[in-house]
């Protein structure tokens, strides 16, 4: 377990080697990168086994680095159920995606750099989940954001990709500022970066003097701001659909399973802080719910396959936040895992489709692809069904847990709206699957073919996991009491698997009904869809334009930011540069020129000056003596 820190180090080393020596390496460094992540995955199993042996609980390993101003800065890792789970998810999905990329990115000229960025990303994400102090976490957070920028804009020759990468970075930056301020406030008030210590102080009943409620709420909300940026919560979600400009494997890894999960992870890690505040938790739940609904609605009207998946991700991340807000730590993390697996597979499937159709993503131009791409269709259907909440698939179990948590922890209106969102999720998933893969074969896609094995194998692997992982929630014997017992927060008591029959039945009926209804709708009754679109035309338009948020942001930038910027620039140019910097220079030149007028070269002038000097000295001495 102590060696868990090696897992990210493999990735950093791979990045270093490939970035520096890339073009000279055999296969341009592709297999080196895969080797690094595979090693990480292997090491994960050792860590897991060791963890179970030593007793699932909470372990920390740290090395002090330096101390300044009474604040200690250290390198350290935490090994607890949350970390172990994340380690497994990240290494596995990263490995699958990198193998898939062998086929998808084949022939790309800059493939060395692609794999280098992948390695760096994996390493940074792993550091993030292992970090035991906020400083290290922040480093990794920023690094992950950087990798996202690099990979979204990988095909930077395309204008839209470069713009998307910029948008992603800037939007998440807004959140990152909140995160930084929150961290600084925490450090200033507690004198330490260490997460365990900060949480201990926040939850200490005697901490009323040390950390006021206002401080706890404030910092929790600031940290949440950072999480909102990274996890695409409303209204900082605008970067996620645009991020689809990046290669599909990148979308699968970063924007489905791992990086966007970082926000959820952060809130989960710092959950005691949020719980100590109460108000902050309520905000989290509310934002999560809004995001869940907004994302589902957007997914319903989108016509781009990858965008549908992006909005779906946004919606599910909202569900995870909602779960955390309801106090359902286990539910949220479990859903993170199942969603990550399923969504990654869906994105790989979308990539498979794009690979076959020369990057076509408009689902209106697809249809009946299952005849030509059976493997892709099968895995895609499984993933979609899982996320729609069809029973016995993994996401069904985790969604059920979320519903349970919301029922137990929050006001009934949350539950109702959540169920509405469940219906919408089933609806849009059905729509996507039906329009793309089933039905009559669309002429435009006659030339499609199934993807090579190197791409379909990872998808199959993920699909099988999607079928199976759900059952982890049950107590399976051999000392394993169910996922609820495993994913413990420190200090929490285990809650075993419970089943609320009514709720489960309700959710099953809603999900299945919505899925089937949606299927039929898009299959046979397309006229209903068109008339609905016409009747709710303005709503439809608002949804298409992303609730006009992009326009709103642009307005703020144009009117406020740019204006303020030009004022500052003017100040900088006129006052600082012309007066401040050029001023002394010009002043010196002026003084010099004035002095030059006296250097006439004539003896008489110099003589007069000397005589004046002598006179002055004489008077001075006389006055002094007298």
């Amino acid at each position: 377990m102590e060696w868990a820190w090696l897992i990210p180090v493999f990735g950093f080393a791979a990045f270093g080697v490939i970035a520096l020596a890339g073009n000279g390496l055999p296969w341009r460094g592709r297999y080196l990168s895969i080797l690094a992540i595979a090693a990480g995955f292997a090491l994960f199993w050792f860590v897991l086994l060791d963890f179970i042996e030593r007793g699932a609980g909470f372990h920390r390993f740290g090395v002090d680095w330096f101390e300044t101003g009474g604040v200690k800065v250290a390198w350290g890792i935490i090994i607890d159920p949350l970390t172990v789970t994340m380690l497994g998810l990240v290494t596995f999905v990263a490995l699958a995606v990198q193998v898939y990329s062998l086929g998808y990115m084949k022939g790309d000229k800059r493939i060395g750099w692609y794999y280098a960025a992948h390695s760096l990303f994996a390493a940074a994400m792993l550091t993030l989940v292992l970090a035991d102090n906020l400083l290290l976490l922040y480093f990794a957070w920023e690094l992950v954001g950087l990798c996202s920028y690099l990979l979204i804009g990988f095909w930077h020759e395309r204008r839209s990709a470069a713009e998307a990468a910029k948008k992603a970075f800037i939007t998440t930056r807004i959140g990152d500022v909140g995160l930084l301020i929150g961290i600084i406030l925490l450090v200033v008030h507690t004198g330490t970066f260490d997460i365990t210590e900060i949480l201990a102080r926040a939850t200490n009943p005697a901490a009323g003097e040390e950390m006021s409620n206002a401080l706890i709420t404030g910092t929790a909300l600031l940290l949440f701001l950072g999480a909102m940026g990274k996890s695409a919560q409303f209204p900082l979600h605008v970067w996620l659909p645009d991020a689809m400009e990046g290669p599909s494997p990148v979308s699968a890894l970063i924007h489905a399973a791992t990086m966007v999960a970082a926000g959820v992870f952060l809130v989960a890690r710092m959950l005691p802080l949020f719980e100590a505040s109460g108000d902050a938790l309520a905000v989290v739940a509310a934002v999560g719910l809004i995001t869940g609904l907004a994302g589902a609605a957007l997914a319903l009207t989108s016509t781009d396959l990858k965008r549908i998946l992006a909005y779906s991700t946004m919606s599910h991340l909202g569900f995870m936040m909602l779960a955390l807000g309801a106090g359902g730590f286990t539910a949220a993390i479990f859903h993170l895992v199942t969603h990550g697996l399923a969504k990654a597979m869906l994105f790989l499937g979308a990539g498979s489709v794009m690979h076959a159709l020369d990057d076509e993503t408009d689902i209106r131009k697809m249809g009946g692809l299952r005849r030509l791409m059976p493997m892709t269709a099968l895995t895609f259907t499984i993933g979609a069904a899982s996320l729609a909440g069809l029973p016995l698939l993994s996401a069904f179990w985790s969604k059920d847990e979320i519903i349970l948590a919301v029922h137990d922890g929050l006001h009934p209106v949350y539950l109702v709206l959540l169920l509405v969102a469940v219906v919408l999720s089933a609806l849009y998933m059905a729509r996507a699957v039906r329009l793309a893969f089933y039905g009559p074969l669309n002429d435009a896609v006659r030339r499609a073919h199934e993807s090579p094995k190197v791409m379909t194998l990872p998808m199959l692997l993920l699909a099988s996991l999607t079928l199976v992982v759900g059952f982890l929630v049950l107590p399976l014997g051999g000392g394993y009491e169910g996922i609820g017992a495993f994913l413990l927060q420190p200090g929490e008591k285990a809650h075993p698997f419970t089943l609320n029959v009514w709720l489960t039945a309700a959710s099953v009926i809603l999900a299945v009904g919505a899925f089937a209804g949606g299927w039929r709708l898009y299959d046979k009754r397309a006229d209903v869809v068109t008339s609905a679109r016409e009747r709710f035309a303005s709503l439809h338009r608002a949804l298409e334009r992303g609730y006009y948020l992009d326009a709103g942001y642009q307005w703020v930038i144009d009117k406020v930011v740019m204006r303020a910027g030009s004022v500052v620039a003017l100040f900088d140019r006129r006052v600082v540069n012309d007066r401040g910097v050029n001023g002394p220079g010009e002043g010196t030149v002026f003084a010099g020129r004035q002095l030059r007028r006296h250097v006439t070269g004539l003896f008489a002038d110099y003589g007069v000056a000397m005589a004046l000097g002598v006179l002055a000295i004489g008077i001075f001495l006389w006055v002094r003596v007298a």
């Binding site: 008489a604 003589g607 007069v608 005589a611 004489g618």
Partner: protein, 165 residues
């Protein structure tokens, strides 16, 4: 009696000096200079420094003024050229007057602390003895200076014709 002589000599000296600095005729200036230097010789005599008075007349009157007159002759453009003042002359006058005022004030205030009336003379023997014993080194150096000045003057005045400027 001595006081009367003093005032007469003062008149001559200062008159000559004023003449040097104000006259437009350059040759007249030389002659005014001669008068001033002669007056100074008289002062030396009043101060019982006869040897010095003699030396003053010989050297200044006999040599320096002659040299100046030669220079005047050799550097003339037209007949009895008129020389104006430099355009800064009010400032120069002010400075000079200021300096005189300061010095006069200083001397006058100082004079209250001593009011010597007695002038002492020094015999030629004594002067010679001091000059060649205590001040022997400066004396030799002075003679070297004269030698160098002589040679230098010849060199400077001669090579002007050969090369440009």
């Amino acid at each position: 009696m001595a006081l009367a002589v003093f005032y007469v000599l003062a008149l001559v000296t200062l008159g000559g000096a004023i003449g040097v600095v104000t006259t437009r005729n350059i040759v007249h200036a030389a002659l005014f200079l001669l008068a001033a230097l002669g007056g100074v010789a008289g002062f030396f005599a009043l101060l019982y420094a006869e040897f010095l008075a003699l030396a003053q007349v010989l050297i200044y009157g006999g040599a320096v003024v002659i040299v100046i007159l030669f220079a005047l002759m050799l550097t003339r453009r037209g007949e009895l050229e008129l020389m104006d003042e430099h355009k800064r002359w009010p400032l120069a006058a002010a400075v000079s007057f200021g300096l005189f005022a300061v010095m006069a004030a200083a001397f006058t205030i100082d004079a209250a602390s001593y009011n010597a009336e007695v002038r002492t003379s020094v015999s030629l023997d004594a002067l010679g003895a001091v000059l060649f014993e205590r001040w022997a080194a400066p004396f030799e150096i002075a003679s070297l200076v004269l030698l160098v000045a002589l040679i230098g003057a010849i060199v400077i005045a001669r090579s002007g014709g050969r090369d440009e400027g």
